[in-house]
Structure formats: C-alpha cells, structure tokens
C-alpha cells in the first residue's frame, strides 16, 4: 500500500480504536493514542529513508478518481519539501501526546475526545502536505480547522472560546478567498483542456491567464497562506490562539498547521502563478521584513509567555517567507529547513511553557522567578529551546536562519539587512523571559515547583537532541531539500545570482 496513504490511514484507525475504548479507561486511551502516533512516526521515518532525494519528481505517488465529473482525484505524492514537513509533523505528534499526557484531562470533554480530535488532525496534517490535487489539498486545509477549533475551545485555558472562534473565522476567511481562486483555476482549466485539479497540469495553466487574472488568483491563495503562516498584518489570531490552547495544541498549531501556509506559498503560489509571484515579490518581502521586526518587538513587549512564543513565531515566519520569495537556492532551502527547525524549537518552548504553566498555574512571565535554582532541568530545557529560537550557532535554527539571510542578501540586500536586525531583537525577546523567569531570586510561589518528571524528560529529550544534532549536521535534511528547492527555482526560471566580484566575472 502507498506509504502516504498508509500514514494517513493509521491515525484514522487509531482514532476508531480510541473511540471504542470506554471513556473511563483513560490510560488505555492514552496508550492507544501514543502507540498510534509512534507507529505513524516510524512509518514517516521509513518513508523519509526510502525517499530518493536525487529524483525531483513527486514520489510515493498514488491517484484514484474521487469526483470525476469535476476532475477531482485523490492524488498524493511528495517532493523533498513535503516529505521533510511530513517527517516533522509525524515526529511531533507522539512528542505532543507524551508531553501533554495530562492536558487532555480537565478539558470540557473527556480525554477520549481529545485524542480522537488529535488523531484525526494528524491524518489531515499528513494529507495537507501530501496532496498533489489542489482540491484535495483544500479539503484538508479547511477540514483540519475543525479539530483544532475544538481542541482549542474544548481543552484550552482562559479565553479559549473567543480564541478558537477568532482562529476559525480568520482561517475560514482566508480559506474562502482561496476557494474563490481554486474555482477560478478550475474554470480556466476547463477552458484549456478539461477540468482538472492536478497540480502538475494546473502549473502549466498560467500561460493561459491574463496577468490581471493571475494576480487575483495569486492573491486568493497568498492571503489564505499569509493568514495561516501568519504574516503581518494578518497575525492577530495567533497570539490569542496560542495563549488559549493547551501546549500540545499550540505545538501542532504553530509547529505544523502554520507551516501549511509557508509550504503552500512554495507549492501553490509559486508553482501556479510564477508571473504573479514575481509581481508581488517586493510587496511580500516588505511584509516579511515587517513581520520579522514587528513580531520581535511584540515578543519583547509580551507579558504572557505563550503569547511571547507566538510573537516570536510571527518573526520566524517572516524569515521563512522572506527566504521563499528571495528566489535563491539558499533562501528556498533555508526556508524549508527553517520550517522544520522552527517546528522543533517552538515545540520545545511551548512544551516547557506548558509545564511551567501547569506547575505554577499562571503563564504570566512576571509570576515566575528564579526557576533555575528550583527546577534546573526545566529551566535548562527552556533555555536551550530559547537559544535555538534566537538562532544560536550550533543549534538547528542557526543554519536555516543564516541560509535565509545569505540567500536573501544575494538578491535583495536591503531586506536581508533589515531582517538581520531581528537577530538582535531575538536576543532580547528570549533573554528577557529567561532573566525574569529563570534567573534572579526565587520569588514567592515558585519555591516548591517540581522539576520535570521522567515522562516529560523522555518527551523533550528527542526535541532537544534534534535541535542540537541538526545544528551541527543538517545534511540529512538538506540533502533531501536541496534538489527539491533547486527544482522549484528551475521551474520559476531563477538562477542564483553570480557573486559580483568573483574571478569568473
């Protein structure tokens, strides 16, 4: 059976399994969920190993007719970019389950519901990266909002209902704009050789569009992705959602779901509308740079640790977007690697923030103090995650961030220069909470917090290990990403700028 389809089916089977276990056997339910996600993770790693990085065509391809009269197929297949993101998603899922072992309890509904939603979400996460049919992609893109919506609203904290609604409405709005564009594509494809949603065939369609049409359709896709990613000024849902949801949900939300936005920019915006992409590149770069700086400033000003992490992500998504639209191999590969790395460093931050919150009963930074002395392991984990977030060399994010900057500089020096100021701001937004929460005297209320237990250590260890390992040796991922991003650029008709002072000139 097709590897991707298998990976998508496994969580569905797992969710059915969870559904039939009686609600009162909570431990059994959790074990089933963990087992399922582990199984998916293993099959994800196997797929990654089997993936032939020298081949730039889509792999693990499967296609079956779904709604033939609209030309819609169930078609899946991955290139180097997609397989990396799928790998990230399936690796994060068991970590989230294990790390948030107890976060399913105390929600509005039973843990069973939590895990069913989570597993369904996992299927859709894989599907959204694997889909090679635009309609199928859209179905996953939209449908995955619903489980997240219930995960935030049902199991979150604080203003969870409002945050869930805001998240859903924002996303639906973007999704509907994208639907308009998809309809546009569908109609144009119908006029040029028959209705289809096949990404490969649609990517040849831009030759039949006027530039006006192409620009409009591009915007439909791009705004949807910019909301998802999120890019300034479409970001205000993210801090609310991140602050209100459980740590595990936040990890999946920021780590995986938001990547759909940036992934979509590569997969759809660039591939389907190459000319419009070029037209809008200056505007997008401006937005990206604003996001980088703006997100950083807001993170510096944040009082709530989860909101802070959300704002840092806005900054990071700015980097990713900038890397994509720099249209250089360094930028493109760096952006993709960034997506992967951001998944893990944000996961670490959110998980630790969640543990801090569950122990202290608050996520306000000012409520913490001197944790390094009380809970050294937790403090260290947060610190390392923070260092990864500020792209300390030797940790994974550095490689990707630097690639993005260097790749952008060769084509758009001004954008890169402004963005580089973000690394100073990054130092501030990480070190301020580190100082307030971890350093200083141990403030009242924090004296008796317990350090990480064995389960939590097991959950966070692989994340930290990946952060460190990829910092020193990113090649396993870069080798998969490079051919794919080179292919994207080749299709776009871009070649890397030649060094202006090289001897060959």
């Amino acid at each position: 059976m097709n590897a991707l389809t298998t990976m998508m089916l496994l969580p569905v089977i797992g969710s059915i399994l969870v559904a039939v276990i009686p609600s009162d056997q909570v431990l059994r339910i959790k074990q089933a969920a963990l087992g399922t996600t582990l199984l998916v993770a293993i099959s994800g790693v196997l797929a990654w190993i089997k993936f032939d990085s020298s081949n730039t065509a889509l792999q693990f391809v499967e296609s079956a007719k779904w709604i033939p009269s609209f030309g819609i197929n169930y078609a899946v297949g991955v290139d180097g970019l997609a397989i990396v993101l799928i790998l990230m998603s399936v690796l994060l899922a068991p970590i989230v389950v294990l790390a948030g072992w107890n976060e399913s309890e105390g929600g509005r509904w039973s843990p069973k519901v939590f895990y069913i939603l989570l597993l369904v979400l996992e299927t859709m996460m894989i599907g959204v990266f694997a889909a090679s049919d635009v309609f199928l992609f859209y179905v996953f893109f939209e449908a995955m909002l619903i489980p997240v919506y219930f995960l935030i609203g049902g199991f979150g904290t604080g203003e969870r209902a409002a945050a869930a609604v805001k998240f859903l409405l924002y996303s639906l709005f973007g999704g509907l704009l994208m639907l308009a564009s998809i309809i546009g594509l569908y109609v144009i494809s119908g006029a040029n050789g028959g209705h289809t949603f096949d990404i490969t065939r649609l990517s040849e369609l831009h030759m039949h569009m006027s530039s006006m049409t192409q620009n409009l359709l591009f915007l439909g896709f791009f705004i949807a992705f910019a909301i998802k990613a999120p890019l300034w000024p479409l970001h205000t849902w993210l801090p609310d959602a991140a602050a209100a949801s459980t740590p595990g949900t936040s990890v999946l939300l920021l780590g995986v779901l938001d990547k759909v936005g940036t992934f979509g920019m590569i997969r759809f915006c660039l591939a389907l509308f190459p000319d419009a992409s070029k037209t809008f590149t200056p505007m997008i770069l401006v937005l990206a740079v604003i996001s980088i700086i703006y997100g950083a400033f807001l993170a510096i000003g944040a009082r709530d640790i989860k909101r802070l992490i959300a704002y840092t992500s806005i900054s990071h998504f700015g980097f990713i977007t900038m890397g994509i639209f720099a249209m250089t191999s360094q930028g493109m590969s760096g952006a993709t690697l960034y997506m992967f790395n951001h998944g893990f460093s944000t996961a670490a931050l959110f998980l630790v923030a969640g543990w801090m919150q569950s122990r202290r009963g608050s996520s306000t930074i000012a409520d913490f103090g001197g944790l390094q002395r009380v809970t050294p392991v937790m403090a260290w984990t947060f610190f390392i995650a923070g260092m990864s977030s500020l792209a300390l060399p030797g940790l994974s994010s550095f490689v990707s961030e630097f690639l993005v900057l260097v790749g952008t500089y060769t084509r758009y020096p001004v954008a890169a220069v402004i963005a580089t100021f973000g690394i100073v701001l990054a130092a501030l937004y990480i070190l301020i909470p580190v100082q307030k929460a971890l350093h200083g005297p141990t403030t009242p209320g924090n004296e008796n917090l317990s350090d990480l237990n064995l389960r939590e250590k097991i959950a966070i260890a692989p994340v930290i290990a990946i952060i460190v390992a990829l910092g020193f040796y990113p090649s396993p991922l870069l080798n998969v990403i490079n051919p794919a991003s080179a292919h994207v650029l080749e299709v776009q008709g871009f070649t890397d700028p030649v060094p202006s002072e090289s001897a060959g000139k």
Partner: protein, 630 residues
Amino acid sequence: MVTSTTLVYLIALPLFGSAILLLAGRRSDKWGHLLATALSASSFALGLYQLSQMLGRSTEERAITQKLFSWINVGTFNVDAGLLLDQLSICFVLLITGVGTLIHIYSISYMSHDENRRRFFAYLNLFIAAMLLLVLGNSYLNLYVGWEGVGLASYLLIGFWNQKPAYATASKKAFVMNRIGDMGLSFAIMIAFATLGTVSFRGVQEASHTASKAALTAIGIMLLVAATGKSAQFPLQAWLGDAMAGPTPVSALIHAATMVTAGVYLIVRSNFIFDAAPTAQLLVVIVGAITLMFGALVGTAKDDIKKALAASTMSQIGYMILGAGLGPAGYAFAIMHLLTHGFFKAGMFLGAGSVMHGMNDQVDMRRYGALRKFMPITFATFGLGYLAIIGVPPFAGFYSKDAIIETAFNAGGVKGILLGSTALLGAAITAFYMTRVMVLTFTSKERWDDNQHPHESPLLMWIPMAILAIGSVTTGFLFTRGHALVNWLSPVVGEHAEGGKVLLQPAVVSGLALIAVIIGVGIAIAKYQLSDVDSVAPQNVSVFTRVARKDLMQDSFNEAVFMKPGQALTALLVKGDDKVIDGAVRGVAATALGTGSTLRKTQTGFARSYAAFILIGAIVLIAGIWVVTQ
C-alpha cells in the same frame, strides 16, 4: 596544505567535558572540576604537541587543516565543518588552553565553597571549546559558531550568580551588545558570499586580490563592527564593566585574556581584507585610538578593583586594535601585545580575585590598603603584572606596547603623529591608574573594617598566579628576541614592512614612553601614597571625575538613545497591535454585527411593511430591467 585528523580533539575534549558535566548533573559534583581541568590540560598538551609538530615542518607547510564533514551545502554556498591550524591560531590555542588550564586550577580552590562549582567548570570547558573553535575554524562561518559560542559561555558565566538581579541583567546586556557585533559579522559573511562567492578564509583571501575596494571595505567595516562588539571597543564597549559580575576567574580568562581579544584575532585573520581596504583600516585605528583613551580615562575613576581592571582591559585592547589597524607593520605587534596582555592581565585579575578572597569579596579599593603585608605572594605576582602593563622594561608589556606606539608614530604624516601621541598619552594614563590600583590596594594605609581578616590565598590559587607572573616577566623578551613572533606570523599576516620613512627611532619612542610612565606613576604616588585616601569616594569632585565614574556616560547614552526609544516603540507597537490591527479586525466584526442589527430593524413585524418591500422591490426590478434593456 597538510591535512590532519587530530585537530578536532583540541575542541572535542573540553566540549565533551562540558557535556558530561551538564548531563550528569549533581552526580558529577565530586569529580567534575577535576575532569574539566584534566581535559583543559590535555587540550593544552595537544596544543603543545601540535606546536612541536609545526616547528618540525618547513615554513610553507606549517599550516594544517582538517575537514570534518560538509556542514552546509546549498547551491554555491558550501561550508565545510573544517579546521585550520596555522602560526596565528597556534598562538591562540596555547594562550587559551594554557591560561585556561591555569584558571581551571585556580578556580578549583576559588569556587570550592560554591555549591554549583561543577556547573561553573562545565561552562568553563564550554568556553574553552567555543574559543578554540573560534580560532580554529577555517571559514568565517565556522568562526561565527565559535564567536557566538563564546558569547553564550560568557553570558552563562557572567550570570553565574544570576540570583542577583543586577548580575542577571549584566549577563543579558553582554549578550545583547555582543549580538549587535555579531550582526556585523553576519553582514560581513553575507557580503562576502554575495560579492566573492565564498566565506572560507582561503577563498576570501584568494578572491580579495581581484575584488573591488568597495566590497572589501564593506566587509572590513562589518568585521570591525563585529570586533567592537566582542572586544568591547567603542561604541559597543558598555557591557564589559558590567561583565565583572561574573566570578573573578571568568573575568581573568574571558574578559581579559581570551574572548575579548577575539576581535583582534578577527582583524588580524582578515589582514588580506584590511590591507586592500584602507578606509576600513583607518576606521580600525580610529576605533582603537578612541577606545584606548576611553578605557584609560574610565580606569582612572573606578574604585571597584575589577572594574578598574576591566577598563584597563578595554584600553589595552584598544592598543591591540590600533596595532592591528596599522597593517602589516602592526599585526604581529597586536598579537604580541595580545599574548603578553593575556599573561599579565589574567595574572592581575587572579590577583584581584585573591584579594577579594581574602577580603570577604570586598571589591572597593577604598576599603583596601596595606595588603602587601597580609598577602605577599599576591602582592608580588600582581606587582609583576603591574610592572608589565605600565611598560617598565624588561617586563613583557614594555616590548609589546612600545612596539605599537612606535608603529603608530611611524604610520606616516599627521595620522602617525596623532596616533602616536594618543598611544603615548594612553601609556601615561595607564601608568597613573594602574599605580592607583596598586597603591590603593597594597601599599597605602589600611582602610578596612575590623571584621576583615585579610589572608593569603591557598596554594592552588597562587600557583597559577605565579606562573602567569613569570609569563608577564619573560614573554616580551622571548617574543622579540630575533623578531621571533614577527617572523613566525609573517606567513599568515604578510611580511613585516620595515623601512619607509621612520619618524622616530625605537630608542626615542622607548624614552618618551618611559617618561610618560614615570609622569603617570609619579602623579599617582603623590595623590594616593603620599596623601590620605577617603574610604568613601568623595562626592565633591570635578565634573570630569563624575563623568569618568559613570563610564563617560556610556550607559546613559545608550539608555537615552536606544533603550528608552526602543521601550517606547515596543510599548507603542504592543498597544498598536491591540488597538489598530486587532482593532481593525474586531472593527470588521463589529461592523458586520452592527449592520446586521440595523438591517434587522427592517423586520418590523408589520405585514404591510413587508408588502411595501415587495411592491417597491417589484418597481425597482422593473426599473432595473428597463434601464438594462434600454
């Protein structure tokens, strides 16, 4: 070029030690410091072995490389995890591991009462590893990893006692200001890649022959920015004084002997860029000259012994930067001063630590006095360092500092005279403030409380001090004998360009310098030895003293120009995000809701009004179709 398979162990050993100590946690409390010291020492041994190997090879084959693996490889951006050990880096390797090991030994005793000593040693080992990577990396990007790595170690060590909020703030300040410098390094690498297509030292060196002056100037200026951050040079100098929050061995190792000199290493390493970019080079000497005066002036006003030493460090590095900015004539002298400074300043810091150790961590020199009697060894070792730094022949500082002053005078024209005079004046002030430190601490009258019981430090502490003191005495002579260091470094930094117009003969410079030193020492002795000193800093002092005490207003300046506006901007953006951007979003929702509520009122409940809608609708429909049709 000769390849090696063993270079990596230089770095791997201390890195391994750091990882073990951090991961093993409290389990390694008993033996952690020993392991760390042993690993640092073995790195030093490896360094010596490498030196002996290097000496055994001919001049052209002395540099060796090791490629570990392909690190980042995207498009034409290919960076190997590769190491390069040449005549320049071996100096640093030995300085780092040698002084580092001594400070490990010192710390075993110094930190013995701290329950987190193991963690301290883990950080020290991490620092050694990162610093070695900095000097061994074969490309700017590899250097960058070490560059930020030492920043991290420095952050951790400054904030080692971060339960004190001020110390935590100091560590953050150091990291952030360093990051500003790091940004310069990022820019330099980006420009290098965009213009030259490579970021390795070798590649950039080759490309620099054909590259335009503009590109090289840009790279050079950015490298200078990086150097100012890491080496606490003007205008990014403000963090160094606060960094004295760290335990004293840290100040000795990181903020005196090694890390802060990384900027000098960077400039000397990039000699091929600066040689081809005179504008950048000029900026280097300007920065060096300003800083050496800046640090010296601040040093005269400090009562905190460590801060006085820190100011001195800043000033001395100013000398090095000045030297490095003088081109091929100065590179070797900059390195020489760096090495001798590593010995005497580390020794003095350890001495200061020893004093603090004996004085219940008192750092205010106005509370010291007459310690000579209670701490003879400390006095002796500190005194040797003192003689070295003020440049009394034949101590180490005399050779290295004189060489820089002389080169400065000979830089030619007005520039040479200005630079030379600045350096000379700096030497006088150095002599003044170092004498002040010496006098206030050791030879003036007692000013401490009755509950102080000054005592000499234990063996483990004074042995490293003694060894460093020996270094302060001998190194200058050794390095200059037969131009040993100049010749040793010439394959890396280019031939030492003698000749040309010589403004002042070496002997004249030495004479002038000695006069300057004597003036400085004399004033200080008159002021502090021969008259009484208040145990509390007098407040009715001149505005100059006040400004100098406040570090020449550097913090006030940064606060007024960067922090306050930054905080205001942050607050504004936070508010704006809620009120404007999210407000717009909420506004759209509210508008929809409001429109709904308004339109809802059309539903009056009266059937007649509904009928009226239908009637009007029909009329409009007819009219509409009519209009379209016509």
